[in-house]
Symmetry: C2
Subunit: 85 residues, 2 copies
Amino acid sequence: MEISDWRKKIDELDEQLVRLLNERAAAAVAIGQLKARAQTPIYEPQREQAVFEHVRAVNPGPLSGAQVQDVYERIMDVMRSLQKQ
Amino acid sequence: MEISDWRKKIDELDEQLVRLLNERAAAAVAIGQLKARAQTPIYEPQREQAVFEHVRAVNPGPLSGAQVQDVYERIMDVMRSLQKQ
């Protein structure tokens, strides 16, 4: 496969990734609304830690656990800002 | 649905996301090897820009375009560091 073939594959993966990130975001918004109703805080460090542990545990590679967590730290930042909107 | 149900759904989405991120990483490694053979640089700002435009174009929401790009900036950082390993 040439670079252009790999890039076509990456573009297809990105379409799936963007769809899943938005499904995750919709679930985070739903949780944010339940938390607002129950007057519990948006930021729950224990839950974030559990998410990091989960994604590291299911990571098959070639990304390292630290690299997956790097991506997820940004994902969690974005989800939190969406819940506060 | 309660918070625990949404979190179960999020955990399932995260498993799919981690799988796709690693498929993307494997493709990036393949591109890195082709680039090394051709002695072309790893960092190609035009391609990164095209990736950002693509993911913003296919973004259905509720994430904003800026939020999707925020996540992708981290993804691209991680992919670049993997290609240099």
